[in-house]
Symmetry: D2
Subunit: 274 residues, 4 copies
């Protein structure tokens, strides 16, 4: 599983890797069943991940999608809008990425940018944020009435932990890309982000598309909590195991001796170990 | 890292997990540097993964993309074409997914479907396959002349190993989705696939977009070999480390005491351990 | 102007072509001013044309778009949904075609298909139509609150006139494509369409996106009425003439003698009159 | 028909409107037959219109598309590329608009921008233009080999006539949008455009996608010449009339008395003449 949290080991009281993987695996089995059930029922699932920088959005998405079919489960991480997109209805550029029948979409950030980073960093006007907070629940209501299942997660991280992760990223060439100048500037706005988040939760926590807050100060614990919550709150029809018969028994015998990949042309595989 | 190959452990002579992860990590660091260099130079990278069912395409893509920026590195796994798409130029539906400046696209299967599964299973005519084999190198030449970097990998797996993996999938609820009826029917066509592959390699192995064959009978070794090959064959400009200065030194001090995520509304995080 | 209504001349009491063009021209001048005002203000305009077969949707769109900038004014006439689109939120495939800042979109049929042809011909369930009628006003409210201007026109035609036009089409090779088997079957459902339309008007005629019914038994009169209505109901800011200064005065002199298109290669223009 | 060329009347020797329409109509009938034949055979047709400003591209497209099915015949007039598109393969943003089976696409300007306006006005480097001229024929060859029919028209207009049209546009509120600052600057580059055009014709006039030059100093004559040329050079299979049987004979009788549009709700049509 995606798990690069070497620093976790340094923190006494953090979940160890072995325990994490042991608990993760059966959850991934369940997710895989859910995926097949979705395919059978034609239902659609949208999971939105939001949270401060470093909270753990990407890692959670990886933990969910890792063993799912990439043709059925799409990760959506949109770049900044083009100039033309900026002149469109705010939700317009997200709509084409909503899942079709039998599909899952995992949003790494979402339309809630307008209530968070865009608002705090001044990329939109207060009136635009207010309009967004008014529209988002109604937009989501249209989707959920139509049968779309929406789960919205806010991944919580305290500033001391966030500072530690920023420092780790700065020191780690593998993670340095995650540190943009805007991220660094955001450090000075921890409280502002908190206020923006409270306003967002207040305005957009609805019966049809509720927010769930998950403590991600320990990322492994956070991921397990999040996935368990997701699985527990899916409709019963999706949690029921698919009929066992579908793949029962061993494969029919091959009938011939198994072959090796033989290449008749000049191209040969790179020998292992080179 | 994505590594669910529990069966590997059962095979004497297969690479162990610890050794694998130890070797993978520095390669991922290099990939991350490449990604930042791409962003600086505006170059574009396309990696195509092809191979028989179970060969290890998805796992290799996960190993590459795992620590890259999802806004810069896109996994492309297209579903079957719609009826309208079937009436278009064969390459048309792939073109919108080619990477833009500074981006990486990882194709899980590609236009080479026409030379492989579509040809073997009779989803297209022999004339269509012949036309494809004639067009593909010229199409790719247009792209590479324009500066796109194309890497095409064929992941090799012997039938005995493939049979073992099919059997594992059948037994493993996490992997059962990977077993479609077409896959099972493909078992009877191992040799036909080999012939189709040889013809494809013969027709589309070019100086500007060469194929590389990698032995994936041991998936861990295969992934490491593939990533090493990719890194070794990138242009020198992309392998040079980005200027160290970019993130040197510790973060500037925060200035205030670090805060905790405090929620003023009624919504509270799920307590860890629930 | 698009005006192929030769049969009109046969009907006493129908508007003559000369009178039509004389009245149309100043309306098109105004539309052109509106387009430039939209560009200046960044506003967006959506015009939806609905009505029975033969009512005159295409001709009205042509009359509006004819002298507008094709890079700013888009005609949207979507084909039947693909299988994947059928498994999406009903409005999803229309959303990418909503106009961006400064643009006009002219919809030749629209999401209202679900209340009309799909409902009458049994392409959707009564529950789906009911859900649509509930969603459409709320969806449109999101758009209009965001500043999108929506005009919805129902073009009225009596059955005797429609029958005459069907007969004309059948006899006219230029128009025969407009006669699909579904159209012919629709003849038997004139009343059903009327009932479906009444229900649609009842459910979706709102303060923010009202329907306007225009008599199109005389197509020329209908087009003039529709365009006049559109111009009269745009916000005042869009009707004000753009500053005259923008293109005042003659062009600066050319400075050299005007040249002729001279072709230095072997290719020469087709001589006129050949 | 789209015909706003009032100034034509002022020029002795120009074709009159009545003669124009009389000749246009049978050509449009043929185009309509071609469209139905395309639908039956699944062939695809791409028509590219290029030429100096004011040459008559938009009017020619209108004359062709006017009576065709908007769901089958698409006008493609792309705006300037976004920043992301600028970092893609030059042809990438055009490819999604290539016609599918049974469709016609009419391009109002095209990838040839790179050989024309972009080259003359310095929006690309000489190396980029050279690369384009090298790629375009090979790109088009891939398309035509795949069965796409490509027609490329250059609409010729002498500078004196162009100057007259610029002056007309400046004076005409209906056409002023057609006069951008770049257009005006282009006046000083008539010769440069000619040189760029000669180079483009030299490099991209091929057996599989030849250029045809049409004299558009008299727009009406130009349109008729162009459409005639198009019809005369389509494959024989598309020019054959569709089977007459398809819509023979009168419509079956209606069976009931024809009804009038009766509205049961409060909404009533705008009375004609208001």
């Amino acid at each position: 599983m995606a798990d690069h949290s070497k620093n976790h080991a340094d923190h006494p009281g953090r979940m160890g890797k072995a325990a994490y993987l042991e608990q993760l695996l059966p959850l991934q089995v369940e997710l895989s069943c859910v995926e097949r059930r979705l395919e059978q029922t034609g239902q659609r699932l949208l999971v939105i991940m939001e949270g401060r920088d470093t909270a753990g959005k990407g890692g959670s998405i990886a933990a969910i999608s890792e063993r799912l079919n990439p043709r059925r489960c799409h990760v959506v991480a949109l770049s900044a809008p083009s100039e033309r997109e900026q002149g469109q209805w705010y939700f317009q550029r997200y709509v084409p990425h909503l899942p079709a029948a039998g599909e899952i979409a995992l949003f790494d950030r979402s339309w809630y940018n307008r209530a968070g980073v865009e608002s705090v960093m001044g990329f939109c006007t207060p009136a635009q944020t207010a309009a967004f907070l008014d529209q988002a629940p109604r937009f989501e209501q249209l989707l959920t009435e139509d049968g779309l299942l929406i789960f919205k997660y806010w991944l919580c991280v305290d500033q001391a932990e966030q500072e530690q992760r920023f420092a780790d990223r700065r020191a780690d060439p593998l993670k340095r890309w995650k540190l943009s100048p805007i991220d660094l500037k955001a450090r000075e706005h921890y409280e502002d982000y908190g206020r923006a988040r409270d306003r967002m939760l207040k305005g957009t926590h609805t019966a049809w598309a509720p927010w769930t807050l998950v403590d991600f100060n320990d990322q492994r614990v956070g991921r397990l909590t999040l996935i368990r919550h997701l699985l527990d709150h899916l409709p019963a029809s999706l949690r029921r195991a698919p009929p066992a018969a579908e793949a029962e028994g061993p494969l029919p015998p091959l009938g011939t001796a198994p072959q090796v990949e033989r290449f008749r042309g000049p191209l040969k595989p790179i020998p292992p170990g080179v």
